[in-house]
């Protein structure tokens, strides 16, 4: 809101400010009217104020003057707006069909109109605050808007069919060409100002071209009404319109000002010799609402702010701001807010008025005494363990938008899957919510390759949004996920060491180490049905037989379609079951004083057999002294029979109470080998 300092001073008494301009700017900021910028114009200064949505009363010079006066303890001198006697005859019929939307409608005729350019002083005033002058009549309505804050509208009276005004909801099928030249289709939710047969203006938003003031206009009908915020807001939003008038009505105009504003306009028109006020002033006010006064307790101010205020300060300040002290007792008051302050509803609103003008900077800074809540809130402690492991393994954290598109995800899944659509997306790329972190991570990976970064390990922890099976959007599920993508060499840290390209076992090992930190043993099983993964390099992960995710190599088909030259490994994990597990608490197991005995067993086995199954089988052997099973060698080569691999497994045995005998250990190994022979057709080697 642009405010001319010279214009503002007209309403102050005395008109000279007791403080310097810099100080005024500071004070305005500190009462909640921050000055965005200032601009010198001759002997005037234009302040650009930022007005919050709750203060439509400050969207004009008188309103700001009222705040300045209260802050500087001056008094306010409102402009002359007493009744103007109409010397000419004139009669207008006005009726309000929807008082709920239009509680008040005032109007008056102005005859013998001479539409011309406004005088210099008026044009200058308007231009100074950025309002383009049009003609004397329109300029007067704009002047009153910027002075008192109330939107007026001027109709060419002779263009109104039947010479009457009907305030009513539009009818389906009715149209109106508004002053911006657009022909608009109206509906039954929109309040219109109509003549005998048709809409001539969109109430509180914009007039129509047909009744617009022109140089041919001889008689003008001036409208000064009060429209309810909800009605104006809904219509303006529906039509995508926002005008000076709608902006103020939406936020709440002053229902008591229409007649004053009308009188003020008539006085100005006569002063400019632009026309003659005619006939009686029409003022229909079917929707008058009495506002209840508000009780204000001195103790409440103390309770909320932490400071006690002198009764004299409270009363003085509220009075300066236009509040009426209805009754006054030592510790409390009954206060009637002014009609232009629609934002004041409760006692704490009054508290804010007092402390705002007292100055936030004068309130001391204290520290609240600690109140301890009954219980600690749930917080996934596992998350920071995971993040620690990930960063230690060379993964950096990515953050991607949660938006995706069916096309993008279908490319990944290889099929279209149900997604949650956004009803009002801003762009096509933001049309749905992601169901996997992979689309974003692969895009990030591609971007890195394009930038020339070939060593890329990224992780993301974020939510995906799964639609319910019922088809109802509101049955959605949010799920916490961990996603990984990795590409490059396996030991990039060591400049002199071999630079092997990352492979699946690197990724798996990292995942295993994170799990082990969380006390979780996850199973990796060969996976089918993940179309985006290399069919031979893909695993499904499960914890306690519950599937929690997958890991593998990006399918060469996708690798080609993304135009990747390096192999890419990826994994996604549902963290909800991980977070649901108890956080691992280590407990001490006495150390055996008796040394562990290690034995290596080697055997040939069919290539198709899975090590995972084999290990599970060995574990199931009934041998409490078997402490560890480790694969230490896997050989496949020409020296072996076709289709066979040679495995060497190191078994460690230990008993907490005694040294194991050679014989016992041999027996254990033999039973393991027997099992391998019978279940996996293993052939012993030694």
């Amino acid at each position: 809101m642009r405010i001319s300092l010279n214009w503002l001073k007209e309403y102050l008494n005395p008109p000279d400010l007791p403080v310097l301009e810099q100080e005024l700017i500071h004070r305005l900021t500190m009462i909640g009217l921050p000055v965005e910028s200032t601009e010198k114009q001759g002997d005037d200064v234009i302040l650009d104020l930022e007005i919050t949505t709750n203060r439509p009363d400050c969207l004009n010079h008188l309103g700001v003057a009222r705040e300045v006066a209260a802050q500087l303890e001056l008094s306010v001198q409102p402009p002359e707006s007493s009744h103007v006697v109409g010397l000419e005859m004139g009669k207008v019929e006005v009726s309000i069909e929807n008082p709920e939307e239009c509680p008040r409608y005032a109007a008056r005729l102005v005859k013998d109109v001479t539409v011309a350019e406004s005088p210099r002083w008026l044009r200058q005033r308007l231009e100074a605050v950025g309002q383009r002058p049009i003609n004397n009549l329109v300029d007067v309505t704009n002047y009153v808007l910027l002075e008192l804050g109330h939107p007026l509208h001027a109709f060419d009276y002779h263009k109104l069919q039947g010479g009457c005004i009907v305030v009513r909801l539009a009818r389906e099928g009715e149209t109106l060409q508004t002053l911006d030249g657009i022909k608009r289709a109206l509906d039954a939710s929109m309040l219109a100002i109509c003549d005998a047969s048709r809409p001539v203006a969109l109430a509180g938003i914009m007039g129509g071209t047909e009744s617009e003031i022109s140089t041919a206009t001889r008689t003008v009908l001036l409208e000064s009404a009060y429209f309810k915020p909800f009605s104006i807001r809904a219509t303006a939003k529906k039509l995508g319109m926002r005008t000076e008038a709608s902006y103020r009505f939406e936020r709440g105009a002053d229902p008591e000002i229409p007649v004053k504003a009308l009188n003020r306009a008539c006085r100005l028109i006569e002063q400019l010799n632009a026309g003659k006020t005619a006939g009686p002033l029409i003022d229909l006010y079917p929707g008058r609402v009495e506002r209840q006064p508000i009780r204000l307790r001195r103790q409440r101010i103390k309770q909320v702010i932490g400071v006690s205020f002198e009764p004299a300060f409270v009363e003085g300040l509220l009075t300066l701001l236009g509040f009426e002290i209805v009754s006054s007792q030592p510790e409390e008051w009954v206060v009637q807010p002014p009609t232009f302050r629609a934002d004041i509803e409760i006692e704490d609103d009054l508290v804010e008025e007092i402390v705002r003008h007292y100055g936030y900077e004068r309130i001391p800074s204290t520290y609240p005494s600690p109140g301890l809540p009954e219980k600690a809130l749930n917080y996934p402690r596992q998350e920071s363990v995971l993040i620690e492991g990930l960063t230690a393994s060379g993964f950096s954290e990515a953050v991607n938008y949660i938006f995706s598109t069916p096309v993008q995800e279908a490319e990944f899944w290889g099929e279209s899957r149900p997604m949650i659509p956004i009803a009002n997306p801003l762009t096509e790329e933001d049309s749905h919510l992601r169901t996997t972190l992979m689309a974003g991570l692969l895009t990030s990976l591609r971007r890195n390759f394009n930038y020339g970064n070939h060593e890329v390990r990224l992780f993301e922890i974020g939510k995906v949004f799964i639609p319910g099976t019922s088809g109802r959007l509101e049955d959605f599920r949010e799920s916490n996920r961990l996603g990984l993508v990795a590409s490059g060499v396996s030991y990039a840290a060591y400049w002199s060491a071999a630079r092997d390209e990352l492979n699946f076992l690197n990724i798996k090992g990292m995942l295993e180490s994170f799990f082990s930190e969380l006390g979780i043993e996850a199973d990796f099983r060969p996976a089918t049905g993940f179309g985006f993964l290399h069919p031979g390099v893909s695993a499904e992960l499960s914890i306690n037989e519950q599937p929690v995710g997958w890991a593998g190599e990006l399918h060469p088909r996708l690798k080609d379609s993304f135009k990747f030259v390096q192999r890419v490994f990826l994994a996604e994990l549902n963290l909800d079951p991980v977070y649901a597990l108890p956080f691992p608490e280590p407990f001490y197991e006495p150390l055996s004083r008796f040394p562990a005995v290690e034995r290596d067993i080697s055997f040939l086995i069919d290539k198709t057999k899975e090590y995972g199954k084999l290990k599970r089988a060995i574990k199931s052997v009934n041998c409490p002294d078997l402490k560890d099973i480790q694969l230490i060698d896997l050989y496949q080569g020409s020296r072996l029979p076709e289709g066979k691999v040679s495995l060497t497994i190191r078994l460690a045995f230990q008993n907490p109470e005694r040294t194991l005998t050679q014989q016992e250990v041999n027996q254990y190994c033999e039973s393991v080998l027997a099992l391998l022979r019978s279940r996996f057709a293993a052939e012993g080697r030694s």
């Binding site: 009462i31 704490d348 900077e361 204290t366 917080y379 960063t391 956004i422 009002n424 060593e455 400049w495």
Partner: protein
């Protein structure tokens, strides 16, 4: 021994010069002829192998030259025998001692050669473990969480897809409220939306527990905004809430001042200006003295010396009523700030978009 040790130390740094053994005059006069021969031969011994050969040549039990001399003693007369025997004894002791000394010398030489061959260039790059980094937004979020946790706050989390009731209605923004316009919302259905702030978690937390409440709420929030250097349809917020009997606006000031001075610097000046948010009353905008120019004016603060960092205020009584807290007994304060914005200020990042590009060259800077 002392001499030997001194020699040992110097031999680490200098190639050993083989010096002839020093003999006393008396010894020389009486010396056995083999002594001079041994000395000559010893001088040319430069490896442990040669040393062993030399030792065996003189001291071997069967064929050693000295052993042979001892065996010859028997052929001497009884008068000659004692002095010749003594001479041989002296010779043997001298040879053994000389051999021992020479052995030490050769060992030192060998170690020296070994150490030299093991020498490396310590200025070569170390084998640097390649760590990844957490995202700068998480880094700053953790820093802020930790400050608040030291002040007795707990971290509360909540859903990103949220009901209109929690996002707006319970926060004193009924349908048709003008403040809904300033938070352009992405909707899924009429009632379901992407949360525009993390305030719904304040409501959810208060619904689940009686006062006192002392929480911070970090998380993603969403607005229907086009992407540019300072706008994004997704960004991050951290809000906080304190509710208890006796909480005042003065407490709000003290708490947030303490936090901001800890986050930025103890010299930071903090100012509270009246502002408006529907869910607080009174409301405040919190500004700090510009961290780049200390308040003298620069590009970042648009020349006015102050930077907006958060919105705050006393929790609106209607909000407390909605969750079943009695506003006559309990008061509270709440605030909210953009994590992305704070990160941009602290790390001097001038374009919000870089946070979501995930360029590893960017991520590795944090």
């Amino acid at each position: 021994m002392k001499k030997g040790r001194a020699f040992f130390i110097s031999s680490l740094f200098l190639p050993v010069r083989l010096s002839p053994l020093k003999m006393t005059t008396a010894m020389l006069e009486n010396a056995h002829p083999l002594w001079e021969q041994f000395r000559q031969e010893l001088q040319s011994v430069s490896s442990l192998g040669q040393w062993t050969q030399l030792r065996d040549r003189y001291l071997s039990r069967q064929r050693g030259l000295i052993t042979l001399e001892v065996k010859k003693l028997g052929r001497l007369s009884a008068e000659e025998r004692p002095s010749a025997g003594q001479r041989l004894n002296v010779l043997k002791v001298q040879v053994e001692k000389a051999l021992e000394n020479h052995y030490q010398l050769l060992k030192e030489q060998e170690r020296f050669r070994q150490l030299q061959s093991e020498r490396i260039d310590v200025t070569l790059p170390g084998y640097y473990p390649r760590r990844g980094r957490i995202h700068p937004l998480r880094r700053i979020q953790r820093e802020m969480e930790e400050i608040f946790m030291r002040m007795g706050f707990q971290v509360a989390l909540g859903p990103e897809l949220e009901w209109d009731y929690y996002n707006f209605e319970a926060l004193n923004m009924p349908p048709g409220h003008p403040a809904r316009d300033t938070q352009d919302t992405l909707y899924i259905t009429e009632n379901l939306l992407l949360r525009t702030h993390t305030s719904p978690v304040q409501i959810r937390t208060m619904q689940q527990q009686p006062p006192p409440v002392r929480i911070v709420v970090p998380g993603k929030v969403f607005r229907r905004d086009a992407v540019d250097a300072t706008h994004s349809p997704m960004f991050h917020q951290m809000e906080g809430l304190v509710v208890d009997a006796g909480i005042t606006f003065a407490d709000l000031k003290g708490t947030l001042e303490a936090f901001l001075k800890e986050l930025f610097s103890p010299q930071t000046r903090v100012r509270f200006q009246p502002s408006y948010f529907p869910f607080v009353e009174p409301g405040a905008e919190v500004v700090i003295s510009c961290i780049f120019c200390s308040g003298t004016g620069c590009r970042v603060c648009k020349q006015n010396g102050w930077i907006e960092v958060m919105g705050a205020g006393m929790v609106h009584p209607k909000v407390l009523q909605k969750v079943g807290y009695d506003p006559e007994t309990y008061t509270g304060f709440a605030w909210g700030m953009g994590i992305d914005r704070i990160a941009m200020l602290k790390y001097q990042i001038d374009d919000l978009r870089i946070f979501f590009e995930n360029d590893v060259r960017f991520l590795s800077q944090f």
